[in-house]
Amino acid sequence: MSLKVDEPINVEDTRPASALSGSGPGLFGIRRRNRTRLVVAIVLAFLSLGPLLYMVSLSFQPNGGLLGATVLIPTHPTVQNYVQAWTQNSFSRYFVNSLIVSIGTVVITVVIASLAAFAFARYKFRFKELIFYIFLASLAVPNLLLLIPQFLLMDKLHLLDSLFGLVLLYVSSNLPFTIFLLRGFFEAIPKEYEESFRLDGARTLRVLTSLIVPLSLPALAVVSMFIFSAAWDEFPVALTMISTSTHYTLPVGLADFIGVHTVAWGPFFAASVIATVPVIVVFLVSLRWFRSGVSLGAIR
């Protein structure tokens, strides 16, 4: 499955646009329409952030004022909702559960995927391409369709209702894509680096930990961000596997919150804001590596 864009031919300057931006011609010609683009950018940002800002605004409004809450800026801002959200419904517990599950998923997935991607990128072994294609093919099998057999499997392994079981399922669903991305990235690292490293007597695992991994940090960071936000947000699998409320992750806990307190919108939105902050922080931190665009290079 080659997802590469055809290399343009007979082009003298193949530097990426980022190297040219600022001075050279842009996608819309030379610096033309900058003002229009800025206006469009503002509209896009407003539409994207609007509902989220509304949520933040609601979370600071006293619950009584919520019906007919078309007031955008709270007139009597209060943090009462946050206090209530954090102390009720073992919400803080869900938060910790989600942290454990998401971080666990990221760490295990990235470690296994790095090892596998390194093997795919550097070694020859029997059925290598076949195995890789089986991995790729499973990208086309929707994860949710496996929900039922996975449920029965976890039941048999006595891993139902366990956070560890959840992590295992998340790892397995994130592996193919991660291996796919990392293989492309590892293969782009010149073999010569590795050879000179080996001449100094480094063993394979050391090559991986002190050469490949440091060189791939941007890719690993972006991949980790993808996995973290996927695990943080995952709902149907957690809903199915977890039954004890002390084992809930945030999405399940939040959904439950609505079921129990139909009218407590203020605390619900406060809880939502708390649940959204970590993933946005992770995203913002990973932004600095996004710019290099390297990991997405494998896709285009």
């Binding site: 864009v5 300057d13 530097r15 646009a17 819309f28 896009l44 949520m55 999405p251």
Partner: protein, 274 residues
């Protein structure tokens, strides 16, 4: 290994299960029922509604998401004051939680005191209290709108990377040769990002066929199953009605269809590459 146990094994188990009238409760027998689960699926009116809804969901949300994503990428790919902020803003909805934003949208469209009714009231001049999420088509509309809003950032980021890779000199020389903006896009830009377009299409269609959380949270498939999608109906059959065999048969059929679709899509891509 983990992958083998938790993904490959379930794939086969799925097909196995679909031939049984499976019960989750220990001690009950699980008689083999041959193809009857599959036959029942074709006679189930809710399956028909759910298939139609899932299909409509894909046909409506995928092209719109891609169009807005490409548009946003085109606007934001070159330097602009604060471009990092605009890009981050467009992507942020992607990392938010489906459960959270489902309820934000439910709230925006609430019948009593919802923002949308206030807006409609303001423009029409008389007070309305439309119960958006309780009627089939307005509920579908809310679900589509939410899905597009949350999905745009994902195609945006991939198109952004793809557009970034087009050498600007190529565009410039086309313009110097007198090509109109439309022709520059038609013959230079779009062909250069074809790989990204295919990739986004395949993954969005697969994702669209799995639409679950937003429907589960906003309408629960109601009223009267009219907004049910294949995934929400499958979930209901398995975990509310405990018809595991039936749900597994549904999942198997959908998997075959989607796999066929992806294979066809990738083949088309290959042929164009050659």
């Amino acid at each position: 290994m983990i992958y083998g146990v938790f993904t490959v094994y379930p794939i086969f188990r799925q097909f196995d299960l679909s031939f049984f009238n499976w019960h989750i409760f220990p001690g009950m027998s699980n008689p083999s029922v041959g193809w009857s689960n599959y036959i029942a699926i074709f006679h189930d009116p809710v399956v028909r509604t759910a298939s139609f809804n899932s299909f409509l969901f894909i046909v409506i949300t995928v092209p719109i998401q891609m169009a807005i994503g490409l548009f946003a990428a085109a606007v934001l790919t070159d330097r602009l004051p604060g471009s990092m902020f605009w890009r981050a803003a467009v992507y942020v909805p992607v990392v938010t939680s489906w459960v959270v934003v489902s309820w934000v949208f439910s709230y925006l469209f609430a019948s009593q005191g919802g923002m949308m009714n206030a807006v409609v009231s303001f423009f029409t001049g008389h007070t309305v209290s439309i119960d958006w999420t309780a009627q089939t088509w307005t509920a579908n509309g809310v679900i589509w709108l939410l899905s597009i809003w949350k999905g745009v950032g994902w195609s945006f980021i991939i198109f952004l990377a793809a557009l970034d890779g087009i050498p600007r000199q190529l565009l410039e020389s086309a313009r110097i040769d007198g090509a109109s903006e439309f022709r520059v896009w038609r013959y230079v830009v779009l062909p250069s990002i074809r790989g990204a377009v295919t990739f986004v299409t395949v993954l969005l269609v697969i994702g669209g066929a799995q639409v679950f959380t937003q429907i589960f949270e906003i309408t629960k498939g109601g009223p009267y199953n009219s907004t049910q999608s294949l995934m929400t109906y499958m979930y209901q059959q398995a975990f509310s009605n405990f018809a595991f065999g039936y749900a597994a048969a549904m999942a198997s059929l959908l998997a075959v269809v989607l796999f066929g679709f992806s294979a066809a899509e990738i083949r088309i891509l290959r042929r164009q590459d050659a």
